[in-house]
Amino acid sequence: MNYTNVRRVAIVSANRIPFARSNSAYAKQSNKAMLIATLRGLVEKNNLQGDLLGEVVGGAVMKHARDWNMVRECVLSSGLSPYTPAYDVQQACGTGLEAAILVANKIALGQIDAGIACGVDTTSDAPIAVNPRLQRALMDLNGAKTRGAKLSAGLRALNPGNLKPELPANKEPRTRLSMGQHAERTAQHWGITRQAQDALALASHQNLAKAYDAGFFADLVMPFKGLQRDNNLRPDSTLEKLGKLSPAFDRKGGTITAANASPLTDGASAVLLATEEWARARNLPVMAYFSYAETAAVDFLEESREGLLMAPAYAIPRMLQKANLKLQDFDFYEIHEAFAAVVLCTMAAWESERFCVDKLGLPGALGSIDRTRLNVVGSSIAAGHPFAATGGRVVGTLAKLLEQKGSGRGLISICAAGGQGVTAILER
């Protein structure tokens, strides 16, 4: 094992297709079709046709059983050398960033020189499973040895009551609560107002629209199936319009609406990571460097213990300590807007002396951040949130921001189902 020469990991290129609201522009697209198109775009942009990469890592949260080897299958259609290995990972909404961390670590350790981290998701082509009772009956039929056993299993399989399919749901298996219900409880715990959430949602749309108009995404987003931009983007939204929506998860007194939460979305993203030497040999400029990463998880089974989506509030202070940095030492903050409330709760936690001392064991509060540096070119509320593709979107976006600025540091925070959080630092 190489313990001595840890190498710098460069973010060389990023590509994604425009994100589309569920059952809209990509209603007929599969995960594979979207990921293949995205990989091809990245390959062509960097002239990687026929090239052998160290590995391609990615995943999807909503995945058909038949796509068990999805990323490798996509690599075989990507234009890369068919000798390029690949594997699937899944860490809910943290999948994309976790994939980038995995590739970056292998590059840093000298195990590979270049790789692609990617993610894709669709809620328009969700894996609808057969009813568990029918599934059990079919398995029993398959394994039955005697005629009687076959008959009995066969009759159970024919029971019309078993035809009702099992639909995937955006729900925590342990608490039976939807993610929105969890976020609503956390928002109430931290006293986050509806107005603050709507303002953050509006800023997301305005920032994203401005960035598109300025051509910021010209080399980050490729046209796909008639879309040039994310079709959830509402550049002309106003606080009045946002204020008219009724709460989605708590009819009385709730603060989270369809507009201040990220929508169900279809899309894919991919990021090319490599050593500086590898990039230089190919005349590919470096956008930014991957420096630190940290994941965390919390016990969310009771809201009184911790909120479902609060794990990044734990991960980031740990990472800052290792990097010897303060929360304020960043030029850009990319905090994934699963819900506007999550962003606001996370920031409130860092500002809370009680939280920082009691829960994080710090001497005092981490303090507040400069809000003008937060999600400056929009985030998931405006762009949409195809679960596993969000990490790639954020890494590409932040790398581009640092490339434009020429130097600096950016912080990434992504909350994930199961009470998890994946975070990272990019710099240039």
């Binding site: 293949i36 091809r40 062509e44 002239n47 046709q49 026929g50 075989l76 259609s77 234009g79 068919p82």
Partner: protein, 471 residues
């Protein structure tokens, strides 16, 4: 894309019906799978005819033998089995076990210089006309008319074309074909690959053609017989489907690494082809002015150069000239003509086309004959005929060659979409009474792309089953 008549005519249960209805009865054409083999003519009987004044016979004999053929100077007497067969009015049928089969005839007519010499044609072919096997091959080798000083000798050489084409029409109904090679004096040693092609199964849809074998292009250092494109890099434009995809596949079978190019809108087909042939995809609009430069950089960076360029990409935008919209005219010219010359210029200026390079342009039957509603298309396809002729001498010193192939009715998605009547007419109005396969075109392209084809440059060769149009 299925040709029902071809099926019925070759199914014993329905063949009689096809015959009694007086319908054309196309023969199932011989084709070869996989890449080139060292002895493609193994076990085949070839009659070699000629006169003492000819200068190709000796070379042809040894080349045919090296290719595995059993070379005969005269026909054996008609056997009982064969005469019984002849009584039925057909050629030697596969049912007669040990009957002699004549698989091909090569006539060295380079000594034919006077009207009197034409008697050779009658004397050689008349006795064997009823004895040619199904899918037999006839190759006539004549002098190069434009190199002969004596006008009568030039006329005698040129007349071989009329003879060969008419012969081809006579034997086409049994799937046999006939082609003419005009041979420049001193180019006899360049006949190896051309003979292997025109005497073999791979030229199954190339019929009634006249090709020139000359000393113009410098010879390659070595001429492999198998895996003839091993180590070569080939670019095929329009590779997503049809003839382009078949060509990419065929070139790869003989060892080439194929860079497949097609428009971004056809990425799925493009990547499918590239993945299937183990090649490299390159998505680009060939008519974009930036493409030639990008392509040259790509080929140089990835492979250091390119050995074979197949200009297959092309479009039709048919309208009578009276109804033709300006932009449709311009689009066809841009893609079918300007893009090809622009890519070649960039490749040559950039020194990316390696010495011994091979360029093949896809012309068309429409370019040869003209076609109603295709003034734009036919202009571009005829332009390529002139282009290869003019470009050939410029590439020759570096051992490069450039040729055009002009497909006739080929069974592709485009022809499958044609209305029934024009489609049936297109298929049947040829000596072979059927459409060709994309692979048949790919075979001709691969032959022209091979190192052994260095004797052929500046040619336009049709692959049309000797279509009646524009013959």
């Amino acid at each position: 894309m299925s040709d029902s008549l071809l099926k019925w005519a070759n199914d014993p249960r329905t063949a009689g019906v096809v015959k009694s209805l007086g319908l054309p009865a196309p023969v199932r054409l011989a084709r070869s799978k996989g890449g080139y083999v060292a002895q493609p003519l193994t076990g085949q009987n070839f009659l070699l005819g000629g006169s003492a004044a000819g200068h190709a016979s000796d070379v042809v004999r040894s080349l045919l033998q090296a290719a595995g053929a059993n070379v005969l100077d005269s026909l054996p007497p008609v056997s009982a089995a064969e005469s019984e067969d002849k009584g039925k009015g057909g050629a030697a049928s596969p049912s007669t076990g040990d009957a002699f089969k004549l698989h091909g005839v090569v006539l060295d007519a380079t000594g034919v210089r006077t009207p009197d010499d034409y008697r050779l044609l009658y004397d050689v072919f008349h006795p064997l006309m009823r004895r040619l096997a199904k899918n037999a091959r006839v190759v006539v080798i004549g002098g190069l008319p434009e190199s002969l000083a004596d006008p009568v000798a030039a006329a005698a050489a040129r007349g071989l074309e009329g003879f060969t084409r008419s012969l081809a029409k006579e034997i086409g109904k049994r799937g046999a074909n006939a082609n003419l090679l005009y041979l420049e004096r001193g180019a006899e040693d360049r006949l190896d690959a051309p003979l292997r092609f025109f005497c073999g199964a791979r030229c199954t849809f190339v019929d009634g053609q006249a090709a020139r074998v000359t000393r113009l292009a410098a010879a390659p250092a070595e001429v492999p017989l198998e895996q003839v494109l091993k180590g070569k890099v080939a670019l095929v434009t329009g590779a997503a489907r049809g003839i382009g995809a078949a060509t990419a596949e065929r070139l790869a079978e003989d060892g080439a690494h194929v860079v497949c190019l097609d428009i971004p809108a056809d990425r799925d087909g493009l990547y499918d082809t590239a993945t299937r042939v183990g090649g490299t995809p390159f998505a680009a609009d060939i008519s974009d002015p930036a493409t030639p430069g990008r392509l040259v950089d790509f080929l140089r960076q990835k492979f250091g150069g390119v050995d074979v360029v197949v200009h297959n990409a092309g479009i039709t935008r048919d309208k009578t000239l009276a109804n033709m919209k300006e932009h449709l005219w311009d689009l066809v010219i841009a893609i079918n003509f300007r893009a090809i010359t622009a890519v070649d210029q960039a490749l040559l200026a950039g020194g990316v086309l390696r010495s011994g390079g091979r360029i093949v342009c896809l012309s068309s039957m429409g370019g040869v004959a003209g076609n109603f509603g295709q003034t734009n298309y036919a202009a571009t396809k005829a332009a390529l005929i002139g282009y290869v002729a003019a470009q050939a001498p410029l590439l020759a010193a570096q051992g490069g060659t450039i040729n055009a192939v002009a497909p006739g009715f080929i069974e592709t998605r485009m022809t499958a979409a044609m209305p029934l009547v024009p489609r049936e007419l297109g298929r049947r109005m040829s000596s072979l009474s059927q459409g060709g396969q994309p692979r048949d075109v790919a075979e001709l392209i691969t032959f022209l792309a091979s190192p052994g084809a260095y004797g052929l440059t500046g040619n336009t060769i049709r692959v049309c089953g000797q279509s009646l149009l524009g013959a």
